[in-house]
Amino acid sequence: MKPFEYQRAGGPASAVATMTHPGAAFLAGGTNIIDLMKLGVTAPDLLVDVSGLPLRQIEPLPDGGIRAGALTANTDLATDPVVRTRFPAVALALLSGASAQLRNRATIGGNLLQRTRCRYFADVTKACNKRRPGTGCAARDGEHRDLAVLGGSPQCVATNPSDLAVALALVDARVELLTPDGPADMSVHELFRLPGDHPERDTNLPPGALITAVVLPATPIARLSTYRKVRDRSSFAFAAGSVAAALDVRDGIVRDVRLAFGAVAHRPWRAYAAERMLRGATATVDNFERAADEELAAARPLRDNAYKVPLIRNLTVGVLRGMTEASW
């Protein structure tokens, strides 16, 4: 780790202003950036500590939504009673991530900007287009059991490791930003991207922008949402695959449905094709399977991660089936 300067941000605006400093990076909970700095993957010259900024409030919005400051600890959002009632998938996703210690320290804004856990990204001696564009992708023919089956590119098959992001994608959450040009906001859908020819870009966040809040818009169907994560061990591991789902079934007909997959792509994967197919259809296992297959038709597994395709398919069917039975 090379020496760096440290500044405590006085306010959001001054924090964003310091991002003009070459080699500047924000520090919030630090649970990912410090890890990466020790590995030499990230080597900032200046750390701007935003963790003291007053961005930790969780405000229930009168319309049924919730606005949470970007520095809200994962633990605090996960255990908030209003979040648990209105957006159970968000709470479940947060609680399924990492360990209690990490959830206490990690912030929801930082969570969305955490880097991929691809082994080659984390090893500075290996080729990685995300870490060093143009060096190649060592994962494609290497150890890629945990990597993407959807939306990968020849340049990159990294996955987004966030559980929270999957639940946020499910409920069409938005992030509020402070950019060098002033406040802005974007949907989580717009925030994340596929790697394409520029895997070095994890997100579409404008340069120098600070996420100041996460907004969960009023989403009545989200009260019936859930999140199921599968991983190699029972806890404290990144997902091998996960599914967030919300389902509204009345009289055996799917009135509305939302589905998002985790650990399968460079971004949380909202299963729009499956949703379209299911809306208005009868809530049967056959239809759930068809919808999952429709979404996964685009899957392009690698040598060692093909198991993810049936895993996500079965999870989708299993979760929707469970929610259907629960609604009877």
């Binding site: 780790m1 061990r233 029972s234 093909a306 198991y307 069917v317 299993g318």
Partner: protein, 708 residues
Amino acid sequence: MTTFLTSLTERATQPAVGVGSPRIEAWDKVTGRAPYAVDHPVPGAAYAWVVQSTVARGVVHDVDTSRALAEEGVLGVLWHGNAPHLEPVGDPELMVLQSPRIAYRGQVVAVVVATSPEAARGGADLVRVREEGTTADTVLRIDHPALYQPVQVNAGYPARSAIGDVDAGLAEAAVRVDATYHTPAEHHCAMEPHATTAFWEHGCLVVFDSTQASTAARDALAGLFELPPQAVRVVNEHVGGGFGSKGTMKVNTVLAAMAARLVGRPVKLALTRQQLFALAGYRTPTIQRIRLGATAQGRLLAIGHDAVSQTSQLSEFVEQSAVLSRHMYAAPHRLTTHRVVALDVPTPVWMRAPGECPGAFALESAIDELASAGNWDPVRLRIDNEPPVHPEERIPFSSRHLVECLRDGAERFGWSGRDPRPAVRRDGEWLLGTGVAASTYPSITWPSTALARATADQRFDVEVNAADIGTGARTVLRQIAADALDVPAHCVAITVGDSAIGPATVAGGSTGTASWGWAVTKACRLLRERIHRDHGGRVPDGGVAVRADTTLDVRDRPEFSRHAYGAQFCQVRVSTVTGEVRVDRLLGVFAAGRIVNPTTARSQFLGGMTMGLSGALLERSILDPRTGDFVTGDLAAYHVAVNADVPRVEVSWLDEHDPHLNPMGVKGIGEIGIVGTAAAVANAVHHATGIRVRDLPIGLEHLVPRSR
């Protein structure tokens, strides 16, 4: 029995051995006061950081240290161009920085020493190593052209054993199994990384070291640095786990000593978790073929076990995976073989139950396959093939209670009436199954020395250079000493973990309690005699001390086959949606001689079974064949069991008395808990799902349903 000490006011009211008690050092450990290798207060210590090769086979042309040396706080950089000469001591892995040759990826090519950990790490980032690699051969395959049969395998066993004619036995058999099993490379992942504090004082070398064997470490350091052994002291008062990885000295110790000499001050060197995956050893991957043939009545006719493993270009290490098949079951026709190939990889080392652990996964899975094929109960099948004497060496067992373990375990587990059909028990989305496997581990005793001292105030000091790596060694040795002295345990002070005490054997191979305990017993008995004979039963003012050495006692033991045995039962759930496996219950019954301390013994068995469960479901070190390194090289990628993985685990043991072992009648319990666990889990998974997984770990890719 009357006490030997006529003046003694406190006498033991009951034997200390057999009574459960908290470990002596528990208070120090729960308060954070127990000092591990880099916890000792050492004023003025510098910090060392290792730089590793990035090629798997090649040569270091040059190491540019100029930028590192210009960094604030950096005191010096060691590399092969300036490192002190080391004298070979038989382990080529220790000849660190002695030549430009690179034999595996991750080999140490430089060490930076600085005034702070931050400066040391920062300096290490600035060292420029110009190295050149050539094509490396890093993958173990069953058809590797360089596989060969060694003369011996680990622990001195012959590589091959043959009785009768296995092919003929198989031909004659009514029921056969011929299956190949794969076990992955595994890393020990002791919680304390390999670490050393070293300093030189008046030409003598002192190290606080994370080692399972400080006598051996002292001898190795003395040899490497060409010092008389008495000029080296290795202290390992507390060791944060080892599991075999700290059984032989690793480079951290040598490098710390070199670095301390370079900068003229104490040096702390703690390898990072990532560095350990190349530098601290690992369990070799294995490929094992098992062939079994049985009569229609379920009597084994033939047992064939062929094991393949890897070693490095530096030294020959051959995992003895097939050795357990030489004594587990009776059969007239038998063959075991071992072959090995030297690859451009780090040298494998012992890991908890070397040989038996991977071997039992193969053999005990195959026995289950045979039971399925013959429609026999797997407990019954094992009992029916119990050998009366060692089936290959034709010598008696000192004691063997495998059958009793199986029966007792079956009773406790509720095995009787088990429906053998696979994939028929369901609880919601989960399929349920149960499995059984047998366990074994040899009971080995090595020579050791110990010192017992009585003081005039009726205190007893017992010193033995044991290493307490979490086994409870300190605690049980005090109990053994108290009984040998016939005094209450609290009258005995026990000191371990310091090479200055005198030679003693490694904390490894489940040999510790037997080996150290024998020396302690002997020293304490001699002390009693001495006080009685020479001092009329009174301890003189200056005290009395006796040193004992068991070299001859151990050598002169009669010939027996000495092993501990056990049986493990497992209940699993497997999701029909995801293929996730959850172990709901594990039960182990062991016959391991006399149990000295039921509290710490139970923890040892629990720990072994927990690690076995972890190996069954999670552990796998994946080597990238293109680069020759373990890409799963940290605790986020190399999964070991966490608390949520570990269910109800029940442990019990038989009251086994074996007069042919050692004066205490102990067999050793550190390894046997891990032996057979993976097979019990795999057998239960088969019972639950009908899917036979022969490649560890059992993962989602094996079990996720692929179609409706």
